[in-house]
Symmetry: C2
Subunit: 349 residues, 2 copies
DNA sequence: CTGAAAGCGCTTACAG
DNA sequence: CTGAAAGCGCTTACAG
């Protein structure tokens, strides 16, 4: 009798297994496994090999990754637990970078959002472990110090965009210092000598690092740092960075000897500066050069003229995070890896 | 001299299995399984039960989720393939909503980014299938029509923030019509009679839907639509929405009978309008009321005064997407589910 | 009330 | 060169 005609419905008969392939090819499942995985130390005849491949194609067979993991006692999952998966465009890029790199290495990302709730973090990590993830990426949406995560101690892990004070933890963070220095140096290279820095009062790696970079670049250029050009604003006031930047900028601009360039802690501050400059009829960059930080596309690219800004290397951080995780699965010490912040050149300097 | 870096992990002896628990409790693995899963149709003595629980606690036992899936022939994975995981703050919220809801139902998200490359989409879907995901969420970062995805035909799937023209596909999208109507109605309720609409020329569900909503709200209020108040701008011109909004706004504002309120296609257009209004010394909202769309925090919340805007319900879309997927795993027809767009009230109307 | 056994889909020595 | 068998960690009838 002939084979019954396949039903016209899409009901995918049943997903085929290795056993189905074996039967169709007239070999054992062991053989199928061997040829599919192209096992080195297994000599299988060319014909048999062909029969197996034909059967695979005919059935559209795809191995059950879960069963493979079980048998291999080794999964292809990388866990990513984030305090905020993508509140800002920011953190999303980390995820994207991690995803790209994981993919390249044949891994897939399991993601979990914690909203920074300890209970959820704990659950998220458990879940990753339950699914035999090879390790977990613990990431935050802005660069900061965090408490060492207890539940991460017995799992290969890397802290992403954050770091703990434990010497055993491994972190990948943006190089705020280098970014601050770069911004300043760029201004200097454009011939500016009076470059101001509008920093934030927050106590964070970004404020501290960027200012150190600023001072270092000045020193390298042999320019004494004029502290009257360094300001710190309270972002928590009404209006946030923008308003605060606006008023401090006014002060700076109205001086007898105003700065000819200013490095802003972030793009929002720069936005305030733009306003202040425009009110005074100052041209950017001719009368006042401005550089921002964070490269928030929505702001930087839409200011007139476009704002030159130092970008946070989120994508690269994500990429390096999985690289670090993968290379650390078999142990490895703690440390902090700094990823350089590139400049995004537009028209404000 | 000792090594300064302590070992990464304290050799976690070996992760314990159900067999370990069984041995320690002096019962069979079957029994362990039964009590752990609190199986209904299984009578296990209270004492035995207790012994098992004690053993579980003592060993810190956690079931291997992969093995469970294999045995149950049913995983707890939901796949999410996105054309852009989080380029904009936008799409990130969908992921977040999906994650939250998946979690609630005991599922975990497998994510993959495709950058809208067909090859990658195919691979991503395969990967989800290989891992026995119960279904996949196919999502785009902005609301649009997409080609039906071939590889999704044999898998429970829901289109998220996009839709195809195939009647078999199920979609969850924002209700642009309702949003447009809501924006307009709010303006009307503030007493405005001459409300303009600055739309975009793009051919997209957003432009079409919002305009229909606008006209419908006008009609409902018994106000004839004055087409001279409806404009369409080319966002592709230099300066994008903002510039285009700025110039068209100028035109509108300089008329003999200018509108007293304007509904902007998006927040960027509104940004341009703000500029034009300020240049003319017009107060917002006293002289001109403005409402935006998209509720892009970076813009809307930072404009002076804060911009009232209609938000895209991304989080809710993510939530409903997994609900829909879960309820559709056993089949179900196609359709489009519209999620209402809420208003975010600030100070511009 | 509880255990022995078969099975989920795969891999990997081990024979032959 | 290829198959039979044991095993990965779990679940679920089926006996008793």
């Amino acid at each position: 009798m002939t084979d019954p005609t396949p039903p016209l419905t899409d009901k995918p008969s049943r997903i085929s297994t290795m056993k189905d392939v074996a039967e169709r090819a007239g070999v054992s499942v062991a053989t199928v496994s061997l040829v599919i995985n192209d096992s080195k130390n297994a000599r299988i005849g060319a014909k048999t090999r062909q029969r197996v491949h034909d059967a695979v194609d005919a059935l559209g067979y795809r191995p059950n990754a879960l069963a493979q993991s079980l048998a291999n006692n080794q999964s292809r999952f990388i866990g990513m637990v984030a305090d905020a998966i993508a509140t800002l465009p920011f953190a999303g890029e980390i995820l994207r970078g991690a995803q790209d790199e994981a993919w390249k290495n044949g891994y897939v990302l399991l993601v979990a959002n914690t909203d920074d709730i300890p209970e959820r973090t704990k659950d998220a990590i458990s879940m990753m472990n339950d699914h035999q993830a090879v390790g977990v990426l613990y990431s935050t949406w802005y660069h900061r110090q965090v408490e060492p995560v207890k539940d991460l101690e017995r799992t290969p892990a890397v802290y992403v965009n954050c770091y703990s004070d434990s010497p055993r933890d491994y972190s990948i963070v943006p190089d705020e210092f280098q970014g601050g220095a770069l911004a300043t140096r760029m201004l200097l290279e454009h011939g500016h000598r009076r470059v101001a820095f509008i920093n934030s009062t927050e106590d964070a790696p970004s404020t501290v690092g960027r200012e150190k970079g600023y001072r270092s670049a000045l020193a390298d250029a042999g320019i004494p740092c004029d502290d009257s050009l360094v300001h710190r604003i309270f972002p928590d006031a009404v209006g946030g960075f923008q308003e605060a930047g606006y008023s401090i900028a006014g002060e700076l601009l109205d001086r007898d000897k105003p700065p000819t360039a200013v490095f802003c802690y972030n793009d929002r501050v720069a936005m305030g500066l733009y306003e202040a400059a425009k009110e005074r009829g100052l041209r950017i960059p001719e009368d006042i050069a401005i550089i921002g930080f964070d490269d928030q596309e929505v702001i930087a690219a839409h200011l007139r003229p476009g704002l030159t800004s130092i970008a946070l290397p989120h994508h690269e951080i994500g990429v390096r995070a999985v690289r670090a995780l993968l290379s650390r699965i078999d142990g490895g010490g703690g440390g902090i890896e700094y990823v350089p912040c590139p400049a995004v050149i537009r028209y404000s300097i």
